[in-house]
Amino acid sequence: MSVLLFAENANGKFKKATLEAASYASELASKLGVELHAVAIGTIANDELAKLGTYGVAKVHTITDAGLSAAFSDQGYTRAVVAVAQAIGAKSVIFSQSYNAKAVAPRVAARLNAAMLSGASSNPTVQGDSLVVTRSVNSGKGIETVRTNRPVSVISVKTNSYGLKETPKTAAIEAFAFSSQASDFGAKSVEVVKTANKISITEADTVVSGGRGFKGPENWGLLEKLADLLGAGTACSKPVSDMDWRPHHEHVGQTGIQIAPNLYIAIGISGAIQHLAGVNSSKNIVVINKDPEAPFFKIADYGIVGDLFEVLPKLTAAIEKAKAAHA
């Protein structure tokens, strides 16, 4: 028996979300008194594989099948993960909530007839044969406590909810024999196109977000300067993306991306209920708005009531000064 981690890599490197899922899986494995194994698909250097040990992985099963190494396949990845899970008798299979993980996890759950706990925001408590976790529902407006009713579970870990925790082990690396077949490529990747080289807002520790208060896309330089200083991702409210001031993939909220950074700075966003639903898992919220009645202040930790065009230059100057003092 063991816990299995789906250790996704991008161009041979493990993403932060993968390492977070490893940290989460490591705690679960120790609660269950079993080892944490990982399955890694693709060409990955040994020192990168060893990194999984830092987060508690005892053994990495590597699959270097040419077809699956060349491109993602929802059916092929599913068969591979299921093959490893069955070979090692996995009690629980842990995923991040990356795009590819979200495509594979439910397939694996259906194949294993497993209880699927998606977007878990707490590490499970073990109650007899069941695992109990919390997850956010109603797009962040509520919290659901759920219990598994199957011997095997599939858990996807809500990004940025658990954090990175090191529990160093020396990970054994072992090749797992798996061959893809033509039927694994019903959906065939043609190419992957990068449209933004910026920091991923789901993984970012800090996100700076702008709303209609900016009055137009020409004023976004103010926000970008602040984000650059903080090494932050940039996001926006729904009206801003609807008006095409900013691209859709920056829209955070109920019908946009849901994020949970350490620090969320909302500037010129009033805080409609749909927006708050997408960001209220943020650990610290700063709101800058000229309207003291803006609903956003109700869930803010820190607020500045003022005109963003006056506040932002002062704020960036103060951060530059603080950075210079710490340099």
Binding site: R107, V108, N113, N138, K141, T145, V146, V192, Q274
Partner: protein
């Protein structure tokens, strides 16, 4: 194209969520229900296929009790041809239960595409589409932002972090929809009138299975401790606090 569009009946996005006193269910008092917005994108894309080619069929499917019927009628008003409700009654359901019912219904109907939203705004699980694909052994294109079909193949784009992936898929396929694949539509009066006469079949669940996941409790997030205000003239104070807390 013959399409099946699976929809969820969810609280409107403006709803202030409350749960019943026992913490077991949503308090539906005063709540307006809508078609899950992402599911509606799949519905519109399916209707567009039919409009463009002048042939094909769009069936809407919802797993739920009689309460969901107005939402299903709205899908018919937008332009679906017929509808099916799998009557699960008032028993608790989960993603795997719903996936089993949908897969059993769709198995021998010859649908080219089975559409879903990328997630429901109620349970935010993104579970059912992938599960249905696995149960039917079909390719699954998740978070699709673009879909065309020609020569027995589908050309898609699926959203990725900071970009997208172009995909060529065999048909039939399961597609979960993200913004970009279609635009939302408001039903017109003619559509609303026609919807009243379209078929809405009610069928019993074909697969007897218990839930794999049990809801123990639903609650609201803990309210924040209140906002500390900082003078707009002196944002340096905010920087001091954030540095102290190790946030910047």
């Amino acid at each position: 194209m013959k399409s099946l569009v699976c929809i969820s009946h969810v609280p409107d996005t403006t709803t202030k969520i409350q749960y019943t006193a026992d913490g077991k269910a949503l308090d539906k008092t005063g709540v307006t229900f809508i078609i899950n917005p992402y599911d509606e994108l799949g519905l519109v894309r399916a209707i567009e296929f039919k409009e463009k080619s002048g042939q094909g069929n769009v069936t809407v499917l919802c797993v739920g009790n009689a309460e969901v019927e107005p939402t299903v009628r709205k899908a018919l008003a937008i332009g679906a041809d017929d509808a099916v409700r799998i009557d699960c009654g008032t028993a608790a359901i989960d993603g795997l239960y719903v996936a089993h019912q949908i897969a059993a219904y769709a198995k021998d109907k010859g649908f080219d595409f089975i559409f879903f939203g990328k997630e429901s705004i109620e349970s935010n699980g993104s579970e059912v589409p992938g599960m249905v694909a696995e149960l039917l052994d079909m390719p699954f294109i998740s978070q699709a932002i673009h879909l065309e079909a020609a020569g027995g193949k589908a050309q898609l784009q699926r959203e990725l972090d900071g970009g997208y992936e172009s995909i060529e898929s065999s048909i039939p396929a399961v597609v979960s929809c993200q913004k970009g694949i279609a635009e939302w539509r408001i039903p017109n009066m003619r559509g609303i009138m026609m919807a009243k006469t379209k078929q809405l079949a009610v069928v019993v669940p074909a697969v007897a299975t218990d839930v794999a996941v049990v809801t123990e409790k639903l609650e609201l997030p803990i309210a924040k401790g209140g906002c500390t205000y900082i003078d707009a003239e002196d944002p340096g104070k905010l920087v001091e606090i954030l540095v102290d807390k190790g946030l910047i």
